[in-house]
């Protein structure tokens, strides 16, 4: 299903674990340095109300004076677990895109503030770069280095799966529980 900007609370709350979405609109990259900076009280350079944060350290190069995204797959999200929930609440972030899922704290905040976790396909750097149709800006490129900067990406039908929703459900927790049960049977 299409998930188009603006990313309102009502739209986000309508999503359920297992929904396959295609995101269209502006998303902001942010990984370790950005999360730490915001958590320590730094001011965001963009308005994060109803925004989507993408855990991604892209490869972006300038060709003929224009930014071109060469690779833009997700990075492991769990490193942002201490910060993500409180930042969602403080700035009104509606979704994060990443890989590997996040923990109980983030899941609680998703429920509380009306946010979701969207799982992109890890390793699919080319397909995902192709869905970035324009680079609208970059912040903190000097301060944090290019992969850790905040890139404003205009994306068109960016594919992801809802694996944590705002109703307390986590596909990661479900798969872990079911596979643990199955392993118990196998090991007797």
């Amino acid at each position: 299903m299409l998930l188009e900007a603006p990313f309102t609370e009502a739209k986000i709350r309508s999503l359920r674990v297992g929904d396959m979405v295609e995101v269209t609109g502006v998303i902001y990259t942010g990984r370790d340095a950005v999360h730490k900076y915001l958590h320590d009280g730094g001011k965001p350079p963009v308005d994060l109300k109803d925004s989507i944060i993408y855990h991604c350290g892209p490869v972006v190069v300038k060709e003929d004076g224009k930014w071109v995204v060469k690779a833009a797959g997700p990075t492991t999200s769990i490193r942002e677990e201490p910060y993500q929930g409180p930042l969602m609440e403080q700035y009104g972030i509606r979704a994060v895109i990443g890989k590997g899922g996040m923990g109980a704290k983030t899941l609680q905040y998703c429920q509380k503030v009306g946010a979701v976790y969207l799982h992109a396909v890890g390793g699919a750097a080319q397909v995902l770069a192709e869905r970035v149709v324009a680079v609208k800006g970059v912040h903190f490129a000097e301060k944090f280095g290019s992969p850790e900067a905040i890139w404003e990406f205009q994306v068109d039908r960016f594919p992801a799966v809802v694996t944590m929703d705002s109703h307390g459900q986590s596909l990661h927790a479900q798969v872990l529980a079911a596979s643990s049960e199955k392993l118990k049977q196998l090991l007797g």
Partner: protein, 296 residues
């Protein structure tokens, strides 16, 4: 052979390894996609993966932005020494980084400084074997951090798993390793397993056994049987691609062994992601690539 010719050939090996998946891996991904229910999350993930494989090859760009640890196995002939090879390969790696076949991926562990050219202590990770043949054989693997972080090692006996020092114990460890990894190593994964050795040689052998073709059969019938069983059982766990749930949790299991000291019994598991980048070639003394080791 002229050092510049060697360097040029190695640059092409890096490009090919980073941008093109070997055909045995592509076939395994396609077989996985056929097994999954059409329209399911697992199927969706494998469709994206398939598109990505095609696109990377077409554009000659890194399949995954994490171009990983550069692991190089070299069988040296008499006419090429370690130092000459290392110098040419280091240059090829730095050039490949400059042109974007490789990401700047080598970080000083003490200062946090990125060297910017993928060179530094331990990178690339070279493994040399002196041979007596006439040709130079090079095998390369790019192993990303996501899957390396899910690799693991067990010391047997393991009470929690009821794993004793036998092949049944190995089976228990490996299946637990798959469970612990969930989707975090960018599955569907491929496992290289080493039974025995010390902690260091165990991990090295586990990685090296990943050079086997996915559809080959272990020449040790006991291990062949175990590989088949683990593969089948792991794919009933329902972890699936990316941990979304589904029938394709593993694409392959390869098991090897090393002798151990009586006091130790390690099971080392090298988890490889679906973006299983490995290739290699054989070079003649004249500098001609006589054979690629994997079709792509």
């Amino acid at each position: 052979m002229d050092a510049r010719v060697l360097q040029k050939n190695l640059l092409e090996l890096i490009r090919r390894t980073s941008a093109e998946l070997p055909s045995d891996v592509v076939r395994a991904v396609e077989a996985g996609a056929r097994r999954e229910e059409s329209g399911s999350n697992a199927w969706y993930a494998l469709e994206v993966i398939r598109d990505n494989i095609l696109m990377a090859k077409e554009k000659s760009q890194p399949l995954c932005q994490d171009t990983g640890t550069i692991i190089v196995y070299v069988d040296l002939p008499k006419w090429c020494d370690e130092k000459t090879f290392r110098r040419a390969c280091d240059k090829a790696v730095a050039e490949a980084t400059k042109v974007g076949y490789l990401r700047q991926n080598s970080v000083d562990s003490i200062t946090g400084h990125n060297t910017g050219d993928n060179l530094g202590p331990g990178s690339p990770s070279y493994h040399f074997h002196q041979g007596s043949g006439r040709s130079l054989s090079v095998r390369m693997m790019l192993k990303g951090g996501g899957c390396e972080n899910t690799s693991t090692q067990y010391s047997l006996p393991d009470t929690r798993l009821g794993a004793d020092r036998d092949l049944e114990g190995v089976r228990r460890c490996v299946l637990d390793g798959v469970l612990q990894a969930q989707g975090k190593g960018c599955g569907p994964g491929i496992l290289g397993v080493c039974v025995g050795g010390d902690r260091g040689t165990g991990y090295i052998a586990a990685k090296e056994t990943l050079f086997r073709e996915l559809d080959d059969v272990n020449e040790d019938p006991r291990l062949a049987k175990l590989e088949k069983r683990i593969m089948k059982e792991a794919n009933t766990l329902g972890i699936g691609p990316m941990g979304f749930g589904g029938a394709t949790t593993l694409l392959g299991v390869k098991i090897t062994h090393r002798n151990r000291v009586p006091a130790s019994f390690f099971v080392s598991i090298a988890y490889m992601c679906w973006a299983f980048r490995r290739n290699g070639f054989v070079l003649s003394e004249g500098g001609r690539i006589t054979r690629w080791l994997y079709a792509s």
